[in-house]
Symmetry: C2
Subunit: 168 residues, 2 copies
DNA sequence: TATTGTTATACTCTATAACTATA
DNA sequence: TATAGTTATAGAGTATAACAATA
């Protein structure tokens, strides 16, 4: 980090570490709130939030896996937990009998609504409070571009099927 | 996310999600490389890198816990693994008999050196390739400021002692 | 009493591979 | 044959609390 960093300028290195630390601290804080306010992990919250946002509150497992989890069995596990708690429902898709349609229940929507204010407030306080309007615009633009770049350039060892469904 | 987001503008929400996804993808990719090139996890790499960077290659467990891990037992666990592999050494501190001084071994330094090029190259390719010089400057500055803000504002439920040593 | 660190334990989450069923 | 999903299993990592030792 002092010297053995050929290929990255000190400025880049600093930005890299700052990014990793900020996201780590943010996720930790947010996770804590979700846990306390609704007994939800970050992954579970994301699943519920995506469903809440989807038309009809329904998504296929595959669509859901996309971006939330890095393996299918991981999603099955999390969906199992949410199902047990009555926050989602799973049923075979009419279109494709192989697919499973996941649907948020009313209880699921209620829980999201219950947890959202505190969640959002954490993010606002920790991430955006110290940020000027101009900074926000740049940050959003840059990170958006980086995200697209990363999605288009999956790690060389991207698994053909078990990998993050993002690559599918 | 469509509506239930009082307190965050759509722009903020977008930046928030982009940040989380970018850091998640980056960490995943980087972790994969570290694992493949040196059988190291991200946490283990951070420990070794910090030691490599420290004067004399030595740090106390407490200093090391700071920022790397969220519990002391977690650090003990990771240090145990690195110790077993001969990458670090642990010995009682002369100054304070309670403390343990962790030292990188030559093998540890070698491993860091071996892993660093690929690591840095991943980061460069994924994170900085799509980034303009001006973007980098802003990103670094903003994230640096956010990091300071977060360090100064630990989550309300910061544990008195078990918490991330950062708060100690 | 407070701090440093370890240990025991329990638990969560993840990933791999094998398997079923449908397209 | 390829895709969607589940299951079994095994392993990595984490957190809590209890503990010992030093300041």
């Amino acid at each position: 980090m002092s010297d053995p960093t050929p290929g990255l300028t000190p400025e880049q290195l600093g930005a890299y570490f700052a990014l990793m630390e900020v996201s780590s601290l943010l996720q930790y804080a947010v996770d804590e709130h979700l846990r306390a306010d609704g007994d939800l992990s970050w992954v579970q919250f994301q699943i519920l939030a995506r469903l809440t946002d989807a038309p009809g509150g329904k998504l296929r497992m595959t669509d859901l896996a996309d971006g939330v989890v890095y393996s299918r069995s991981g999603l099955t596990y999390q969906a199992g937990l949410l199902d047990k708690r009555g926050l989602i429902t799973r049923s075979p898709s009419p279109d494709d009998e192989r697919s499973v349609l996941v649907t948020v229940t009313d209880a699921g929507r209620d829980l999201v609504a219950q947890v959202m204010p505190g969640h959002v407030e954490s993010v606002r306080r920790l991430l955006f409070e110290p940020m000027a309007g101009r900074d926000l615009a740049t940050l959003g633009a840059v990170l958006g571009r980086v995200r697209e770049h990363m999605r288009a350039n999956p790690p060389r060892s991207a698994k053909p099927r078990a990998g993050r469904a993002r690559n599918a």
